[in-house]
């Protein structure tokens, strides 16, 4: 199907690959289905979550594995029950990025990750009760911290 996107004009996507958010993302009650758009560059830690219903609604996502390999939120199977039957090895976790003009201000929302059940293509934004993680985790500081640690 042809999809009008916010950042990539109109593209053709496979309707079977859409992810459905029965519990919609806080703030966006009218978007129930999203297309996940990946870069041709397989090493990219970023991807996009484009709303089908509202072309203006598109989120840049970070796959946390690339920059935050220790990110391990405590999520129970019950908290994910809105995603149906879960096989914990068949879920994907992404975090929404906030990308202002200044690169020093790029942050990622670790407190409310996007969790997807890869088996049935259902997704949800979970608000973690885990106190370790912040809504606004600054990425540049994270990179600098990691670089210092490596020396």
């Amino acid at each position: 199907m042809l999809l009008k996107t916010k950042h990539f004009e109109e593209i053709d996507i496979d309707e079977n690959k859409l992810v459905s958010f029965e519990e919609t993302i806080p703030g966006f009650p009218n978007s129930k289905r999203y297309a996940f758009l990946f870069s041709e560059d397989e090493t990219s830690p970023f991807c996009w979550m484009q709303s089908i219903e509202e072309s203006e609604v598109a989120f840049a996502l970070l796959n946390p594995i690339y920059i935050l390999p220790d990110y391990s939120p405590n999520v129970t199977v019950e908290e994910l029950s809105v995603l149906g039957e879960i096989d914990m090895s068949e879920i994907a976790v992404y975090n929404i990025l906030v990308v202002p003009k200044k690169i020093e201000d790029i942050s990622v929302n670790l407190k409310a990750p996007i969790v997807i059940n890869l088996q049935n293509k259902k997704g949800v934004q979970i608000i973690l009760s885990d106190d370790r993680y912040k809504i606004r985790h600054n990425l540049q500081q994270e990179i600098q911290k990691q670089q210092k640690g490596g020396e």
Binding site: P26, F28, A58, A60, I106, I127
Partner: protein, 76 residues
Amino acid sequence: MLALTRKKGDSIMISDNIEIIILEVQGDQVKLGINAPRSVTIHRKEIYEQIQQENKTALDISKDTLNKFAEILKRN
């Protein structure tokens, strides 16, 4: 909105599987107990609103900056 007045120890049933209990009342602080299936999400409203607001802020993406950041990550 339904407004109910309850005393300490009283309960409210929502649907047939969510119960809100007034555990303690001390001054202007009320301690609530909530019994609900684990599939029902419960959050302090402020947190929910913060997430909502952050999601809305996330719509305004500077693609230039994102690309620059991607370049920096590649170099490392």
